[in-house]
Symmetry: C2
Subunit: 312 residues, 2 copies
């Protein structure tokens, strides 16, 4: 009988099984931007870890837009995924994740937390890292310190960093940046905190604008590796020497950062671990072992290289 089935090319129908059992062995990944040095590796970790436990991953991109996130969650819920990992584009406004005061599904937040949803969060300690980055600048005699950060939009409007919707990584990094300045007795200059989109052209334009001002910072903290790249491009175009003229620290540490000249001092985060931990926390909820697993905050470490130089 089994042989006959084989030769006839029988495939057990996972749809029918899902319908009957109510379980799809599928998780949904709602991610702000899958391309980019951080999230592509996190996605790989998630897909691999999930696959190892027999789960497939539906990946939906939101382009950092909260409405797209709500739509994506709706689609995944309709598809009856067993759980959700979401990289949210906002810190509030998650009606789409709540049903009364209950979660709509097993849920883990990756990288960014929300204030209005009582769910497990897997993230890194970016606030400390930003504080430490400023301290490194200060140790090198730099006192004119700025920051270039990406930011999300809601319905096309760029969010202020003070907005209650501003994503947590942004507030944490900006917050740590401000704390670092305060700890060194330095004034926070709002005009040296610049926000931009992630794409290279836009970010480069923002970097050039900041660096061509009459009074410009001599050290800048980049909120991710894309903005670090934009600053590099701006320095090249403005004929500024990285390290000497502009010291630079960026978040995330892709392979190419160590091969730049000067080699870039970056905040290294355990990307792969973050992704696989998120899946493990989610599976705990799906299997019912934990209703709400503890959140996990992994350390972010600055790896010192050559893009921060003593001020002449």
């Amino acid at each position: 009988v089994v042989q006959a089935a084989e030769t006839l090319g029988y495939r057990s129908n996972a749809i029918a099984r899902a319908m009957r059992s109510g379980r799809t062995s599928t998780i949904g990944l709602v991610i702000a931007d899958i391309s980019g040095s951080f999230f592509d590796r996190a996605t790989l970790a998630i897909i691999r870890t999930a696959a190892a436990s027999g789960y497939q991953t539906l990946v939906l991109n939101t382009d950092e837009d909260l409405e797209a996130e709500a739509d994506a969650v709706g689609v995944l819920l309709n598809k009856r995924v067993d759980g959700l990992i979401v990289v949210t584009s906002s810190r509030t406004g998650h009606d789409h994740l709540l049903d009364g005061d209950q979660l709509v599904a097993p849920l883990v937040f990756l990288d960014r937390r929300a204030d209005d949803v009582p769910a497990c969060v897997v993230s890194t300690d970016d606030r400390s890292a930003a504080r430490e980055a400023v301290a490194i600048f200060v140790e090198h005699g730099r006192r004119k310190i700025g920051m270039l950060s990406t930011s999300s939009t809601i319905a096309g409007r760029r969010l202020s960093y003070t907005s209650p919707q501003a994503i947590s990584t942004m507030s944490d990094r900006v917050g740590g940046f401000q704390e670092g300045l305060a700890a060194a007795g330095l004034e926070f200059r709002e005009d040296w905190l610049v926000f931009t989109d992630t794409d290279h052209e836009t970010a480069t334009a923002a970097a050039i604008e900041l660096l061509s001002r009459r009074e410009r910072p001599t050290a800048i903290l980049a909120s991710n590796s894309e903005t670090a790249l934009a600053l590099l491009q701006a320095c090249q175009q403005l004929d500024l020497k990285v390290a000497e003229d502009l010291s630079l620290i960026g978040f995330d540490d892709p392979t190419w950062a160590r091969l730049m000249r000067p080699a870039l001092t970056m905040v290294s985060r355990p990307v792969y671990e973050l992704g696989s931990a998120a899946v493990e926390k989610l599976l705990l909820q799906i299997t019912g072992e934990h209703d709400r697993p503890d959140s996990l905050t992994l350390p972010a470490q600055i790896v010192p290289r050559d893009s921060v130089a003593r001020l002449a």
Copy 2:
């Protein structure tokens, strides 16, 4: 009635609909390695383009392993996806994609073609690009030209580039490389054609081995941006000057390549277009408009920068 449904939190059940209609509005993406500068952007293009037509994307990673690919296809078929986009790890051995002489599902090959499956392929003209890269080296007086290429494995064994299973991009790039040498009247030295895994440590070790030989090439074609990075790392460790001591051209052109010093001459491929074209070709098959859409080969262009220098 509608209002009542709303307040009760009714969600139409996509599983039941799929069971009834036989259509899941889901496509499967079987990809060799989602992380990495090429495939992460291709994946983004696919997810976005599919979403724009109301399709979700299940992403499965095969880690360049053919058996994992067969398993992945099996899972997706069980899940009754409406179509498949596959970045295959082999040029033959695709029983898992065939049912007699019919495709098991609407199918598009992305980036790499197969010899044994009559399906639409969306790829770039890598052979010409490799030939052209060699010509550029030769124009700069370089005659000792090598190549560092990644290669896939089957059941853990590395494939020879002459194997009928070797993936098409590898054979095309190596083939173009050999043709370029022949066109310049240069001898092909097999010992200067080195294969490696993609990960930075392994690739760097391979690069160092090649470059520390008594007789070493003075120009190397890198089969992707990861191997280009490995060569950069090797040059740094061996104290070789990129361009002068080792001229370098690599496939794919991530943003960081233009910001290296010297800026890297790279083969730019229209990644995003490749991904969205693959989805469009697939949708044509799913909707039944074309049984078998024409394959699409997009041009790959070398963008000349500073990593190729005239031999002193």
